[in-house]
Subunit: 384 residues, 2 copies
């Protein structure tokens, strides 16, 4: 079976690696270069988008910021999974918020803002602090502002207005003004839904961001009530979208309540731990879902920590000597802050994992892995 992925980054790469054992041939369309290529070897196939879509049995996506005309070609083929409504909801916070409301899942109060007047109205209605997020193409901490004090409103609006004016979008830009949630922690749920509406979800994953970018994900056996709450929200959103494939929901946890922060209509960085820690990894399950194969077990095999490697193309090779420590490079050229790879480390128990994570963190320099040693220390405290 031939699977064409929109986007030729690390997610397409890991899909290709997971698909090969199932005889699923994954190729990728790079939306920037408009080239069809192999996401592992880089081999270029002399095909247009239309030809590649025609040659594929299934068309899917590794990211939500696919130009609408490209999505239209995919959708017209009848092979696009998940559908473009889902992709667009992931790529536009306005549509995402409308989706969450339609699905009836809890999320932070918000207003859509395009003018200074609307901005001031949002402040009045929602109160402070406010989080302001560009509706389009903002992720990993870009295109986001936080307003704590009313006296900063004019300054922040000026910045937002400049951002909106400068944004090079074929679509109208806007800002989603959202009530700031004083969360206890950030968690995510990665799961898969097939064409028959069956769903499977992995255990809730605890996520730690540094400067707005995911740094560490932690997968432990999850608390049943919280897992059930997340699963219900996952099912509601996935059903609303008639979703097929892997979908990720990111939550704010406040006490024992979850609020959806955002969705990702794709395999997700917070699901990379599944490569070593789960029965079937998210990449394989995505392919199984979109190719009409049975969904695989999402059971936690071993508690696992995932650590992102940002802006570095080498790490201390000694980490490979650690038991249950696995490196995943993406084969990308080094650039400051760029997601270059990740490390998965597992333990038979949370305690063993916390000890191994401590040993690992001591081999990762603070300069490139800020706060990781601190997270390891905290996990050891919790696992005692």
């Amino acid at each position: 079976m031939n699977v064409l992925v929109m986007g030729a980054g690390q997610l397409a790469r890991m899909m290709a690696l997971a698909g090969a054992p199932l005889n699923l041939h994954v190729t990728a369309y790079d939306v920037n270069s408009a080239k069809v290529q192999h996401p592992v070897t880089g081999e270029i196939y002399p095909l247009t988008l239309e030809q590649a879509v025609a040659a594929a049995d299934v068309v899917t996506s590794e990211f939500e910021h696919i130009p609408y005309p490209v999505q239209a070609v995919c959708e017209a083929s009848g092979k696009f999974k998940p559908n473009s409504t889902a992709i667009k909801a992931g790529g536009d916070r306005r549509q995402e918020k409308a989706l969450l409301d339609a699905a009836g899942v809890a999320n932070a109060g918000y207003r859509i803002v395009q003018t200074e007047t609307e901005f001031m109205l949002a402040i009045n209605e929602l109160g402070l602090p406010l989080v302001l997020k560009s509706a389009l193409a903002g992720y990993d901490g870009k295109g986001q502002w936080r307003l704590k004090h009313l006296e900063d409103a004019a300054l922040i609006w000026a910045d937002i207005a400049a951002f909106m004016a400068g944004a090079d979008h074929s679509l109208p830009q806007a800002i989603v003004a959202e009530q700031f949630v004083r969360f206890d922690r950030e968690v995510s749920l990665v799961g898969a839904r097939n064409e028959h509406g069956d769903t499977v979800v992995y255990p809730l994953t605890e996520n730690h961001h540094v400067n707005g970018v995911l740094s560490v994900s932690l997968a432990l056996p999850s608390e049943a009530a919280l897992q059930q709450q997340a699963k219900q929200m996952f099912d509601a959103v996935a059903r609303q979208l008639q979703y097929v494939g892997v979908l990720a929901l990111e939550f704010f946890q406040v006490g024992d309540q979850l609020l959806v922060n955002e969705i990702a209509p794709r395999v997700h960085n917070s699901g990379h731990w599944t490569q070593q820690g789960a029965d079937t990894c998210q990449f394989e399950n995505h392919l199984r879902a979109v190719c009409g194969l049975p969904l695989g077990s999402t059971a936690l095999v071993r508690p696992t920590v995932m650590v992102n490697i940002l802006g570095e193309d080498a790490v201390n090779p000694a980490i490979l000597s650690l038991p249950s420590c696995h490196l995943h490079w993406y084969g990308k050229t080094k650039r400051a802050g760029r997601k270059m790879g990740h490390i998965n480390i597992c333990g038979a128990t949370a305690k063993e994992l916390s000890e191994r994570f401590s040993t690992l963190s001591a081999l990762l320099p603070e300069s490139s892995f800020p706060e990781v040693a601190e997270m390891a220390t905290k996990l050891r405290e919790r696992a005692k």
Copy 2:
């Protein structure tokens, strides 16, 4: 790092898949077509053997029947790991037997036979039954005879003589006449040795052959004394060869004693279970060894059964619904008896594994998977 593999079959393919996350780029040299290609995508690289060897950082092998002139090119580069002495010992039973004797590891008594007179002498000295194996290019049950009764000697010798005369080898053919071992079971040990002489080994694997071809491998926590005995023999053979890479030893177990049946200087079919059941799979560990990276943990994560798929290019997709059941296709064209893929299935305990294996075996037709249901039944009995 660029790794060139001699041989472009499923073992090179699985090395490529295991190497990509470590940024190890695996290409393969098909000794039949003399083409350099990607063992997953099939992309052809316009390189001669010499150019490919020059471009590689490391040259390794997926099989032992590499023509000697090709081995000479690899060896001359100074990058060939394991070395050609090891490869040749795996490809010639005369050298293999001499190696086992030199390493001081137990193996069945034998004589090298090239003439009818030597054949009769071997019968006299070793007694009956005898197993007769062609020294070169015989594996998976081909080029083997069994002599039980003296009155069949002339008939069998005629067959052997015809085989030797017909064999198209650039090397002198011969027969290894070996005492028949009344073994209790067949087990194998897969392990890795690095350039510093460090070794790691996986748990002993129990192997079941049907018509001389591996059908099922079973990896459970192994009995300590037996594991130690196997490890000592592994270390002796690997040291004798100054081996670098993954090496497999196949044993006959007689009571609590192991006799080496044969060695394979490469990743091995009886190690495929490590993809799901071990901390680091054999393909990754082979690459780590030959590339000078730290060896990975060989700990058993979960008891695992591996079932070979022979001569079939499809199986009941329902097997993917079973928990911890993973399919590995090799992307090959269907041919009777050909190794087309394998299935790995795991359980948290031997008991759970035996139940899952039973469920799996019920989905595998007896015609294509002879004796598999029977093995599953036996495992359930043992795991009670």
